[in-house]
Symmetry: D2
Subunit: 260 residues, 4 copies
């Protein structure tokens, strides 16, 4: 029944200055609204549709930036890991390690992430049912780490389309773990542009409202000052300037339903 | 931006007294909350899973009850039609004629319903995309009847399961027509019990909250004083005694988001 | 283990001469190959995507043509019925009455068709699982008519797409009823062209080969001398001139697997 | 137009003796039928549903067995890789490196596998469309390795169910790469038994027949002398004793259609 926390930031960490700019802007917006904020960025987009897609600045360059964001803005930071080898290094700096949806069944990655003792945010695979996530979460908790978040990000629905099944939020909450709704990837159209993924930004608010009304512990929304020119996930990122109004509405719904 | 209206009642019209009891109870509940109310009951369940399923009391017996509900409680009434021949007779009494989801592409039925001049509520077929409904609606509006409601009731998702795609609500609203969310049939598991359909009543509130937060003109919720012994759709009807609290919460969300 | 029968013809009955031309051509082709042939045409396309779609010549004009095809070519004929009222009239002439997929759960239509004593071909709804069809078939058989065919024509798969689940053929065959594969509508893209349905003719052979290899009692393939200018289902009809080679290949597979 | 090759073996490498027994049996069966044979076993099941699922004997123990199978029976061998680090070591021994479906978008794994120069068999993700695989394959071919196989193994269809879309075989073949059909995993019911995956062995022949009739370069079928007691994928493995008859039928269909 605590207010939702927001995990937000650019899809990719593009540069130190870009990350700092977004962290600063989002910290201000969320502080004004009384929303807990976690800065998010990916140092590597490891599963682009095409070999030609930009992948980000890499782990070595990104870690000092995550440290600076934490120190400078006093913010927890989240990033995704793709291999066992990355877990320890990322875990030394970041507060939350995120398991990508495609990798949510990879036992060794989950166990290596668990061993860092950090919070582990597991994205639900597009190929899994909500009730399947209890087995996935147990790979982390039975490895001795009880700090798990489960994130809904859409289920495969025919080809190149995802659908968000909101029954999944209470089903996953039955595990006792906090449930997050990822509005950005839920509106993705995987592979929908041939050589890259499409998306429909206009439905981010639609689906976020639904999630908050159903009840979530957190929201995940990617944002960018100029999404149409972002190196990845542009079609589904929310412009930074629209975040204050969007979050204000979502916070009002959250306040209402958490009071029921 | 008007408050949502509620279409509610038992799945089947079981008897005159049963209909009157539910209409009376629901009128009181909705009046207390300032919610517009439409009484709903089916005189014939024309597409039961099995030949053995109970079908209802029939048109001849039901029409006088609809008249009595209208007169006694000053309520608009809705029922579903299955053949062209029924439209005129039903249209002489009922305020809203509903086209069942399986029949939403039957041109002659849509045109016959349109000609009554009544409001036509078209359920979206489980096999249609939200954007397909503009063609369906046009069969009514181009027949000279602009009074159309479009109702979301779930899309086929694998076998014996439906999923509610909330992107569909704004997509259907682009037609300019009022959009209704049917929470009862969205939680149905078609054919899920072998000889009859199953359902998960516990998700009616989940999906209704989501729909209202996204924004709807109406909600459709079937209710019964003893759902587990109802002749059809028992697994997904809401017990009558739980309707006041449920509607209170939904109305609060509606008030909030309509004020944005 | 009998060779497959072929149900084929134009999507719509366009005119007497057109029907006679196709029946004559197809009779010759199938006789050469030793394939049993049923002439198929629709007198009314009752569920077009749009009100503007052409619907066919109508029942009154079509029935004498069906009679002439039967008499002239000594062929059984099949057409689809949409209302109870049509069943008796159609049953007086046609050998097989077909229940459209959208209507396969309409009890009264199934019972009215059953009462004609004719063979009833029920298309599986796009919204049903193969195992659901035993309940559908029972509505006919329990009405005293054991002569039922079950036809697979694709299941909803996301939006505007169907998928053919070939596990469905043996599952439906467990009813003891002959199972038909409709290759034409399985490659349909419902509503896929906005105001009408699309389709991918190039996969008719792909899916027909698969069906025959799995084992079917019948195939359903619509054909036209000029599909791209046909009034409906053009994108998924097979050009008449390609039918001989297609059927020759399918017959060879059928001969082989029926000999296992 | 070459006859199909068979990739077959136990789901897990259970022991040296078990692997040798199956390789020996399958070599004999395939030689009798004139089918090219690739021995398959997994040294590690890296993505079991639950932490409790058995994972196999591990890479260090498995590699000498693969070497012995190659040497003793003069057979090519295939196994799956899960991390970049494994690729070089596996590539030193095995003829074909297989990319698991969940991992088919992991760029670094694909590139590391490509660099071994071995044949790379990429399983199509359950979350991908057939036309998406051209981008996946290009990650290998643009890394300088043209030796790629694409394997269909079912697409997500609702929850805990897969469906095989046979249109996908010719679509993937448009890349010019050989296409394999994995009949074992296509009949899997992911997570369908709560703590492990279910499956329906009885449809392996159904779907294999369909695939061969459509036309494939290869078939992938897991087999075991006692599937019901196998450590993984038991519900969908074919008993070893049934393989000769199954393959005989599939080879007959393949011979026929490759002659068209």
């Amino acid at each position: 029944s605590a207010p939702f926390a927001l995990i937000a930031g650019p899809c990719q960490m593009e540069s130190r200055d870009h990350a700092m700019m977004i962290a600063e802007r989002m910290k201000r917006v969320t502080a004004d609204l009384g929303i807990g904020y976690v800065f998010k960025a990916s140092f590597d987009k490891a599963n682009r549709t095409s070999l030609k897609g930009k992948r980000g600045i890499g782990l070595a360059e990104a870690l000092p930036v995550f440290e600076e964001v934490r120190r400078e803005f006093d913010l927890p930071v989240l990033t995704d890991v793709h291999t066992e080898a990355q877990c320890e290094e990322v875990g030394a700096v970041c507060d939350i390690l995120q398991i990508p949806a495609f990798l949510c069944r990879q036992t060794d990655l989950l166990v290596a992430a668990a061993r860092t003792g950090r919070v582990i945010n597991i994205k639900k695979g597009q190929f899994l049912a909500p009730h399947d996530m209890k087995n996935v979460a147990a790979k982390v908790t039975e490895s001795g780490n009880p700090n798990v978040l489960l994130t809904e990000r859409g289920a495969s629905f025919g080809y190149n389309t995802l659908v968000s099944d909101f029954r999944g939020l209470p089903i996953m909450a039955e595990t006792g773990l906090p449930v997050v709704f990822d509005a950005t990837h839920s509106v993705q159209q995987p592979g929908g542009q041939g050589g890259s993924s499409g998306g429909e930004r206009r439905f981010v608010e639609t689906l976020s409202r639904a999630a908050v009304a159903v009840g979530v512990a957190g929201l995940f929304i990617e944002t960018h000052e100029d999404p149409d020119n972002a190196p990845s996930d542009g079609p589904n990122m929310v412009p930074l300037e629209r975040m204050p109004d969007l979050l204000k509405r979502l916070k009002a719904i959250d306040d209402l339903v958490k009071g029921f």
